[in-house]
């Protein structure tokens, strides 16, 4: 049962492969099985981008299937999860001895290559940017390269190359473009007509059935954290189940007062769906991982992983989000997100349960909502401290305050002493300056490689001062390319 073949397309070629092991990374498959060595391993943890490939997957829309290509880190992605997908590696862009692909050509002409080891991954990231955007600017290019490290060039030539591609081409009629329809039909055929591998449920029913049969299971969605257990800790978690085909977990539903997102919704999609309601969250969300991680990582994964530094958790708790949990027998329960986290990496989720969706309330009147992430490096870093501030202001007074911090305790946690202090206080600089003193009653964070206790406490206090200061336009905060970095408030 377990060795049922995984079927997918690799650079337009059909692959039918039954892996001998439960965990074989897409990268190892490319390099060792196919000897396609253009894709490199730089770190094995999804942080350097040398392993970047494109993954074309079928997206269900009311008008049928759509084949969407997105960049992923092949080093922390496992083969079963690409069943019925189109895997595209650097070798697909130009044939040996033929002309370079326009992206490669621009990279060459801009002198974007030095040692060349990061290069294929960078080309794939620019490709991802090009395929998923109609225009670009320097800021967008920088965002699209958050998940790619280059140690030689200093990035300038690479940024130029990406901009040049957009300037010169509206559309590139390459192999991917030409065979889009053909590949889509073939993937639909695999999906609709052929049996799924055992560890890849095709829908919610199959997923529940897997969980019923395998009590001790490992649910894998984007694998952005599980990938590290496997690559770095050499763990082999039992009974993996790869849920990327379960469409019921990918829903995004808008109702009058709520946005409901399925647990398998990626950061990339979450960002798009929250943007109209919480524009201030957009910049914050763009600082989670790099583009590849945002294309893989899911909201359910971020919650279920229950990390004290899961960046999505503070805003969702601040917004009073509710988690909908199901078990294998389809019994449903709802829980307030802030009650879900019990202690370090311990959560209110049983073996036979999984997260169905998250219900996020839409903004209410008088809401001031602001999110901060402070880290050693601005992008693609883990928070030293992250914070989400939710205030309801009525006639200049704070009538509701929810201050949620990450990186300050063993779970993402509300600063209840500070909240209580602020309740009923006027929206003034003094109120905030005074409230900062309460932070120490709420938190005694640890010191580690990311930040010291002293810094964490100081920053948490200062962020309270900052949220107030930023209300006044004179103190906008750090700008880059004319745009304010995170910490936007509704007052802007």
């Amino acid at each position: 049962m377990k060795n049922q073949p995984i079927k997918f397309y690799l650079n337009n070629q059909y692959v039918n492969y039954a892996p001998e092991k439960e965990y074989i990374s897409v990268l190892d498959y490319l390099r060792l099985n196919e000897e396609l060595t253009g894709t490199k391993e730089g770190c094995g943890e999804g942080d350097c981008g040398a392993c970047t490939v494109l993954l074309g997957s079928l997206q269900k829309t009311p008008s049928g299937f759509w084949l969407k290509y997105e960049s992923i880190n092949s080093c922390i992605r496992f083969l079963p999860s690409i069943h019925a997908c189109h895997l595209v590696s650097i070798e697909h862009l130009s044939k040996k001895g033929e002309l370079l692909h326009p992206i490669q050509e621009e990279m060459k002409n801009a002198n974007g290559v030095q040692c060349g080891f990061c290069t294929p991954g960078i080309v794939m990231s620019i490709y991802n940017l090009f395929l998923n955007n109609d225009f670009t600017d320097r800021k967008k290019v920088e965002e699209s390269l958050q998940g790619n490290l280059c140690r030689c060039t200093g990035y300038g030539p690479i940024i130029n190359a990406a901009k040049n591609v957009f300037e010169k081409y509206k559309r590139i009629k390459d192999e991917l473009y030409i065979s889009n329809k053909k590949i889509k039909e073939k993937l639909i055929a695999i999906r609709e007509k052929e049996p799924f591998p055992y560890s890849v449920p095709k829908d919610l029913k199959a997923f529940k059935s897997f969980i019923r049969k395998n009590k001790n299971n490992t649910i894998i969605s984007g694998a952005t954290d599980v990938g590290l257990w496997i690559n770095k800790e050499l763990q082999r978690p039992k009974n993996p189940v790869f849920i990327s085909h379960v469409d019921e977990l990918k829903i995004i539903k808008m109702s009058k007062n709520f946005i409901t997102v399925g647990s398998s919704v990626t950061y990339t999609k979450l960002l798009e769906s929250l943007k109209p309601f919480y524009p201030e969250l957009t910049e914050y969300l763009k600082r989670i991982g790099g583009e590849q991680i945002r294309n893989m990582g899911t909201i359910g994964g971020n919650i279920a992983n229950a990390s004290p530094i899961g960046d999505m958790l503070p805003p969702l708790i601040a917004l009073k989000s509710e988690i909908k949990i199901s078990n294998a027998e389809s019994q449903i329960r709802n829980i307030q997100m802030e009650d879900f986290f019990i202690k370090y990496k311990v959560k209110d989720l049983k073996n036979n349960e999984f997260i169905l969706s998250v219900k996020i309330p839409k903004p209410t009147k008088g809401l001031v909502f602001s999110n901060y992430k402070v880290s050693k490096r601005r992008d693609e870093d883990i928070s030293s401290v992250c914070a989400s501030f939710y205030f309801i202001i009525n006639r200049g007074y704070i009538i509701e305050a929810r201050l949620v911090f990450g990186g300050m305790a063993e779970v993402p946690k509300r600063a209840k002493h500070t909240e209580n202090f602020l309740l009923g206080k006027p929206w003034t600089e003094d109120s905030f300056a005074d409230s900062a003193k309460k932070i120490e009653e709420d938190f005694q964070p640890i010191s580690d490689a990311r930040a010291s206790q002293e810094y964490r406490v100081l920053v948490a206090k200062n962020l309270l001062k900052k949220v107030f200061l930023q209300k006044s336009k004179a103190c906008r905060g750090l700008m880059r390319h004319g745009k304010l970095l995170v910490g936007r408030t509704n007052f802007d």
Binding site: Q114, G116, F117, C152, G154, K376, R480
Partner: protein
């Protein structure tokens, strides 16, 4: 000798990196990409989990039982010497025998049929230790009075009489600066592939900047003559100094395993293990005393530079030497006393990294300038200018070398003008007065960097050129390609000698069997040394061809010239390949070696006197930053760079080196922080915890210019200058701009004495310290 060229010239100073296309398509082969034969196997290194102690017992039984494990190698299995000290100090065991001196010290190698099996099995080995207290930091090493241990002989540079001049100075300052280390983070980690050959000989493919040393180390470990070991490297995915000596370990162990098993063995550590096992840039702690005039002119400087060298010497001697050589940077200091302290610590043995100690030394010098400026409430640039080296006088360095090529004043004044420094500084000061949350800073810092290996014998290179009878040219030289474009530069030099298109010259991989006794591709010397050697080989061949043509066509030599349309012999025009073909038939030797050694350099370390550098490279940068004073986060707004590469060999490559070096330097001084816990375990050993700059960390605006009309006064190849390392130190401008922004919270009344790296945490805590000091003063 017919150097006159005619025909349409081909410019070789804007050729794109020769591997560019291959890298872009994924076609370029790195060692891990090479297809292996079926019975090839894989080694994985097991290392110490304690920083200091004795191994009491090792239990290999579980690993041994793992299916697929073929061999386990401990120090006992090494056939020859158990030492890879690059300086012959016999202080660096390949595999620990009993004592462990750092967390990450290799203890054994597991060889298995797959890398996954070898790696998994390596975690099944159980080691019992008797743990001892480790010395992890410089301060701890210095405080360990009575046990202060140097890994190598300290250096002392002295000119004039510090004590006397210090005493007489109207103003005095005492200070210290702490400077963090840096991981190389080459994108391609270490990797070695050893292939056993007949008769016990071996061929090794190693990602190394120093194939000859790998050859020597493998020979020593296998107890073979060097002639039985062949080492080759086509390209590296970055080196930056991290593959100068650190490749030895992997190559040596792969070779031992390959000989034992009679099978090809590859070793490629995981990124985390690579970062834990291998050395980094040296952290430094410097203490200084400076005496100066009211206007900021320095009279006397004494500085002690203590370096965290780790458990062995490695290259710490020359690195701490170079640190001392660069404390002066562009400034004349009449009475000076500099001392190095290469300290033993229970950490990984630190090693070469772009700049080789120079950046740390230079940062100390620039800190002295900065602190003087704050103390007399002057723009640091004014203090810099007052202290610059002169042209005809005030031109003797602390190591008694006369500077003959000083252009620092010219570069500074040109950059000051083009960047609008003065006006922008005024604007920033007034911005800071009004802005509550965000503060800005600006700084202009210069660079003067000495070019040549201070180990004088390293300043040699060889090249081999073969012209085949179809006119194609094969070029070999002793340098290695790590992305810096060395092959492109050297090829273009040869193409200009023969006046043939660049594409007609094929550069093959660096092979110890072709060019012997090569020096490391390091110290920015790659094109200076190898370019010159290749040029000489090419000129020898050209000379032979001219002599042949002269005789063959009975045309005087002065009427023979190589041009871009062919070779003109009297009034007869032959293509290069036609001439070669004729020469071959007339039995002209079409293969030649070239050799070069840098002239006019010498260094007497015991006396601290000499002329260790052939020339100096110069540059300067102005950086502007914005700092969030509530979180310590910052943005690089703009950097303007004016850099001296002499007459450029390749503008694209030189600008690439400047930009890349600068950003790498910015990483060193801002986000790249190495963190050891109290037990001496490195906690930042992957890109998730160790943060090198991203595209979004670069300045919003970056203007880079090459200094025009500035040929190297020394007869280097095409009057060019070395470019690999000097631009790294342009990043000090960012560091000092951040410092200015921080000091604005106390109205620039005190020097923040920022330590490096200036992480957001460091900056915020510095701001808090400044405020506290200011409040204390008021009370």
């Amino acid at each position: 000798m017919g150097n006159y060229s005619w025909g349409a010239p081909i410019l070789t100073n804007n050729i794109i990196h020769d591997s560019s296309e291959k890298c872009l398509t994924g076609d370029a082969l790195y060692i891990d990409d090479i297809s292996l034969e079926k019975n090839a196997c894989h080694g994985y290194i097991g290392f110490s989990s304690v920083a200091h102690g004795y191994i009491l017992d090792i239990d290999f039984s579980l690993a041994m039982k793992t299916p697929g494990v073929l061999d386990i190698i401990s120090y006992k299995e090494l056939p020859g010497s158990n030492d890879i000290s690059p300086t012959g100090k016999n202080d660096e065991p390949i595999l620990s025998d009993r004592k462990v001196n750092y967390y990450g010290q290799p203890i054994f190698l597991i060889v298995a049929t797959t890398r996954e099996i070898a790696r998994t099995a390596s975690k099944l080995v159980k080691i019992k230790y008797e743990e001892l207290k480790p010395i992890v930091t410089i301060r701890a090493a210095k405080n360990d009075i009575g046990n202060l241990k140097f890994v190598t002989e300290p250096l002392r540079l002295k000119r004039g009489n510090f004590e006397k001049a210090f005493k007489k100075s109207p103003k005095k300052l005492v200070g210290e600066v702490e400077i963090g280390g840096q991981d190389h983070f080459y994108l391609e980690g270490h990797v070695a592939l050893a292939i056993p050959k007949e008769g016990g000989e071996i061929r090794v493919l190693s990602s190394t900047q120093h194939p000859s040393e790998v050859q020597h180390m493998v020979a020593k470990t296998l107890d073979l003559p060097s002639s039985s070991v062949e080492v080759a490297v086509r390209r590296m995915g970055g080196g930056f100094g991290g593959k100068e000596t650190q490749s030895n370990l992997f190559a040596v162990l792969a070779s031992v395993a390959a000989i034992r098993l009679g099978r090809t063995v590859k070793i490629r550590p995981d990124r985390d293990d690579d970062m834990i096992i291998t050395g980094k840039r040296h952290p430094f702690l410097a203490k200084y005393e400076v005496g100066f005039e009211e206007n900021g002119k320095i009279n006397a400087l004494k500085a002690t530079l203590s370096a965290q060298c780790g458990h062995s010497a490695d290259l710490s001697g020359p690195i701490t030497d170079r640190a001392l050589f660069h404390v002066d940077n562009c400034y004349y200091i009449p009475d000076i006393l500099l001392e190095s302290e290469p300290l033993f610590t229970n950490t990984v043995s630190n090693t070469a990294f772009r700049g080789f100690g120079g950046p740390q030394g230079m940062l100390v010098g620039e800190r002295v300038i900065e602190e003087i400026a704050f103390s007399i409430a002057k723009d640091p640039l004014e203090v810099r200018k007052i202290n610059l080296y002169g042209i005809d006088k005030k031109n003797i360095t602390p190591y008694h070398q006369k500077i003959r090529d000083n252009i620092s004043r010219k570069i500074i004044s040109e950059l000051e003008k083009t960047s609008g420094y003065k006006k922008r500084r005024r604007q920033i000061i007034s911005f800071n007065k009004k802005s509550k949350l965000i503060k800005k800073g600006i700084s202009l810092t210069p660079v003067k960097f000495g070019i040549s290996f201070t180990a004088t014998w390293y300043n040699q290179a060889g090249a081999l050129i073969n012209i085949y009878n179809d006119g194609s040219v094969l070029l070999n030289h002793g340098g290695t390609e790590m992305g810096q474009g060395l092959n492109t530069k050297v090829s273009s030099i040869v193409s200009e000698v023969f006046c043939i298109p660049f594409e007609h010259i094929k550069i093959t991989q660096t092979e110890t069997s072709k060019i012997p006794n090569t020096s490391a591709t390091a110290a920015s010397s790659g094109s200076d040394l190898n370019g010159k050697a290749a040029e000489r080989a090419a000129l020898t061949l050209k000379d032979r061809l001219i002599k042949f043509a002269s005789k063959h066509f009975t045309v005087p030599q002065e009427f023979i010239s190589f041009g871009y349309s062919g070779v003109l012999i009297g009034n007869k025009l032959l293509s290069f390949s036609e001439l070669v073909s004729l020469a071959y038939k007339e039995r002209v030797q079409l293969s030649a070696l070239g050799f070069y050694k840098t002239p006019n350099i010498y260094w007497d370390r015991a006396k601290g006197k000499g002329a260790p550098f052939y020339y100096f490279s110069y540059g300067a940068a102005v950086s502007e930053v914005s700092l969030d004073t509530l979180t310590g986060e910052y943005i690089l707004n703009r950097t303007d760079i004016l850099h001296d590469v002499g007459q450029t060999l390749n503008e694209f490559i030189d600008i690439g080196q400047i930009e890349g070096g600068f950003i790498q330097g910015v990483g060193w001084l801002t986000s790249e922080e190495l963190f050891w816990d109290d037990c001496g375990r490195l906690k930042t050993h992957a890109p998730s915890t160790y943060k090198i700059p991203l595209a979004s960390d670069t300045p919003e605006t970056l203007n880079i210019s090459l200094l025009q009309n500035s040929p190297n006064p020394r007869p280097t190849v095409k009057r060019s200058k070395a470019v690999g390392e000097p631009p790294f130190m342009l990043s000090i401008s960012v560091f000092e701009a951040l410092s200015m922004a921080a000091s604005s919270v106390v109205d620039y009344s005190r020097c923040p004495n920022l330590s490096a790296p200036a992480t957001p945490e460091n900056l915020l805590l510095t701001i808090e310290k400044l405020k506290r000091q200011n409040d204390a003063k008021r009370i």
